[in-house]
Subunit: 150 residues, 2 copies
């Protein structure tokens, strides 16, 4: 993990903290282009009452609006938890360059856990990916959230 990766994951983590305070599963995301954070978002599933609004989807919608372009080539996405199938598909559709994630999601993760993304043939885009950035912090925040729920 280099300093830039840490810096952007910290920004994603701060978004996850906002989700925590809003009683949403604490997952945060930022999108970076040319060294600048162009979009920040957190999970809004409960607030918007719709399963589509994961942090990554919210963030890609904002980034596309900011750039006035559905094609997010040149952008990197930082998210505190390994993306699910929906979000991974959206990242492919949006042509994001690289995905950086915090902790793994053994049950729903679609990069290296439940689905191994790189093994799927024939997709029209394959982002680079790297995990484990601030993984303890990202994981502890999720654990604290679910502990409160029991």
């Amino acid at each position: 993990m280099n300093d830039m990766e840490k810096k952007y994951m910290l920004a994603a983590y701060q978004e996850a903290l906002k989700a925590f305070k809003e009683d949403e599963v604490p997952i945060g995301c930022v999108i970076v282009k040319d060294g600048e954070v162009i979009a920040r978002a957190h999970n809004k599933k409960v607030k918007k009452n719709c399963a589509v609004y994961h942090a990554e989807i919210e963030c890609m919608i904002k980034a596309a609006r900011k750039l006035s372009n559905w094609n997010l080539k040149g952008c990197d996405l930082y998210v505190t938890l390994e993306p699910c199938m929906m979000c991974t598909g959206a990242i492919v559709n949006s042509r994001i360059d690289n995905i950086y994630y915090g902790c793994k999601d053994p049950k729903g993760g679609a990069l290296v856990s439940n689905i191994r993304f790189k093994r799927i043939k024939g997709l029209n885009h394959y982002p680079g990916m790297r995990g484990g950035i601030m993984k303890e912090e990202c994981s502890e925040l999720l654990k604290a959230f679910f502990k409160n729920k029991r």
Copy 2:
């Protein structure tokens, strides 16, 4: 294919025709609950300039809003083209009961074509699925669209 399936797919096809007229890839979708079409949508990727807004995503957002519930249990989704990875993941996340699709998407389809959905283990929901409803009409509309583009 029974009469009800044909009726709902025809409604999805009519949405696809709207996309065609708007110069979007012609894919349409409806969501049905208790025999009633509760949401209709078509592909808005170009209009909204965002790769998230496939017909199915648009339609699930509308259905969740209509029911004031992210959980779309009890709902069936009809779409003219086999869903992609993103949309299949969103259907799982939204707990849709059944997916009915028109024609297959050999390149991007995530139900039976490029990804075989039922082979993925450990997802927290597995919708039923049936394809091939009005497949010629759905396929011809896509061919006509891409022919115009060349």
